[in-house]
Symmetry: C3
Subunit: 272 residues, 3 copies
Amino acid sequence: MTAEKIAQILGRVRKENPLVHNITNVVVTNFTANGLLALGASPVMAYAHEEVADMAKIAGALVLNIGTLNRETVKAMIIAGKSANDHRIPVVFDPVGVGSTLFRTEMAREILSKVKVSIIRGNAGEIANLIGENWAMKGVDTGNGSGNTRKLAQLAAQRLNTIIALTGEEDVVTDGHEIHIIRNGHPLLTKVTGTGCLLTSVLGAFAAVEKNHLLASVSGIAVYGVAAEIAAAKAGHEGPGSFQYEFLNQLSKITEKQIIQYSSTENTTVIE
Amino acid sequence: MTAEKIAQILGRVRKENPLVHNITNVVVTNFTANGLLALGASPVMAYAHEEVADMAKIAGALVLNIGTLNRETVKAMIIAGKSANDHRIPVVFDPVGVGSTLFRTEMAREILSKVKVSIIRGNAGEIANLIGENWAMKGVDTGNGSGNTRKLAQLAAQRLNTIIALTGEEDVVTDGHEIHIIRNGHPLLTKVTGTGCLLTSVLGAFAAVEKNHLLASVSGIAVYGVAAEIAAAKAGHEGPGSFQYEFLNQLSKITEKQIIQYSSTENTTVIE
Amino acid sequence: MTAEKIAQILGRVRKENPLVHNITNVVVTNFTANGLLALGASPVMAYAHEEVADMAKIAGALVLNIGTLNRETVKAMIIAGKSANDHRIPVVFDPVGVGSTLFRTEMAREILSKVKVSIIRGNAGEIANLIGENWAMKGVDTGNGSGNTRKLAQLAAQRLNTIIALTGEEDVVTDGHEIHIIRNGHPLLTKVTGTGCLLTSVLGAFAAVEKNHLLASVSGIAVYGVAAEIAAAKAGHEGPGSFQYEFLNQLSKITEKQIIQYSSTENTTVIE
């Protein structure tokens, strides 16, 4: 995938400012909304069972995040997800902390059994858990394992029949066939809560404007990573507080030229 | 309304630091609390049905915001609202996203049918929906229509028998008779989530110290807008992340002298 | 307690990065998670009745905060608390706003009757209310009374059989026998929402790595206060917005050397 293509898709997000409907956790709502606004998308959070179907169908994408799930929010996610499916709105799923408790695993699998999701974004531990594989994990910060994440992502994409965006030290995006690696980002992202969750919502914004969701996912991750690199270079030495607001600045200011200059992606697909 | 009067009311907010009870949405709770604290008010968020009546009656104002409503929070709003009405505590209402789903419209109307509100703050699309008028809208970011917002605000104030604070490119405050225009503020406010919601809570703080709620609304909007202008001049070029924290700084630091110098309001009432 | 000891415990928090399970209020979730991350701990928020027992037992500490309580979250707190008790995980309790409504008082007492808590962190008004003593209060910002807070803390520790961390103009930590005073901190902490709540969660992180919870509490408060002083010196003149992010920076950057240099604690225990 060319850097020009990625930059062009960012341009479309800013021009079309898609409405992204988030059913997400209580820790990251504010940061998610500010990140989407900074990027040029239009966030909405709506959870009531009585309105999520209506909201999902007018959105450009629906993002489901189980970070602080309960049965009521899961029910809302399924109602919204079915509505999105009916109206061909892409659904992006973030299985936060799945595997850290049995309840999360059950709920994540229930959502996946009832809603067709276009993209799943998670770390290695979360992705592994979704397909019943083992991976070292700790609380919701799962996934600092040492396995082959490319293979894991590919396997998950094939079994779940969706695009997997597995993020970590190396970011992998795959539809089970093509495998793309993105080498952007910065370790300071792990020092600010909700950066993974916001990335998932950003993939929603990209999927809303680009029908090829493999391309949308690679582009969203690359843009996000480049913004993080610039923010870290500018304010990272000050600490995670400064990085957080500078990252929002850069999501807003990053130019297509900077994307072309700094994004680093690779198609590593091996003919099997 | 003179700028001196506005500055004087700000001084009273800081001196009396009124307790503002917010039943608001999960996206903006933190920003709302920090904004009220910066301004000099004392925020409290309480939602449990068992305690909202008690909390509302010790507050200086009650703020109801339906941004992430559900039946339980609406029920809490009505309990709190009735308690506020009984104890002559002003109620300020923010009908976030009303019109984007049928559920929001129904719930907003139910609240208005059961609680006497002193001030409604919303954008043109939201205000129009409350009185059954059409206006272009998109998700909860409704209201970039092109109609005559002054006329709309006046009509809504008359029909709903309350003060309408309609904010947008031009801010309008009216009790259905007098019409005031406030020409402060900055476009960066639209790039930070919850700036509309925080403004609604700020109007609660002003209404808590100034019994003339038309005057309180004009003053609150003017102070908020001047703070935004100064923050934008100081940090706006950095981006929305920097603007967000600088805006909190300015809500805290803005002087009565600056209010006198920069606030721009106009009474455009036409004798009918 | 020596400053060297305090610095050493901070070092252990950063090395062990304990998982802190928070069941907290909707206003402070994001700030709490970012503060714990900055400090070097690993935050998790989980509320569902079906999973809180599982999450609490894999955590290093459980933090319960009733800031925006309802019956469901109180039930979750009790389930999680019992699990923590069963697995000898320390429980830290923040009775936010207790006394401002009868419901809060009842719920706080119910939690204390069913869960053995290691540390309670609150202001004078909150601590007084827990043991049925009078203290001037206003909303959830209770406790600017003028009584003898050392005596109050000691009485509460004895009656509730726990460690009391009473914070205010002077911070007091006591197990009912030893009384420690911490003279760090900065008034700007009162201008940022959730700084008390985050401190409670920070005490959870310290209690997770230091079995002597009296020592853990004194250390956590001292580290927190020193970070606030440095942040205020660096950015406090800018306002509460700047102080907020600089405080997160300092929680991340503060060195053990700075702790040794600036922490100010005193054991004031009087032999009775």
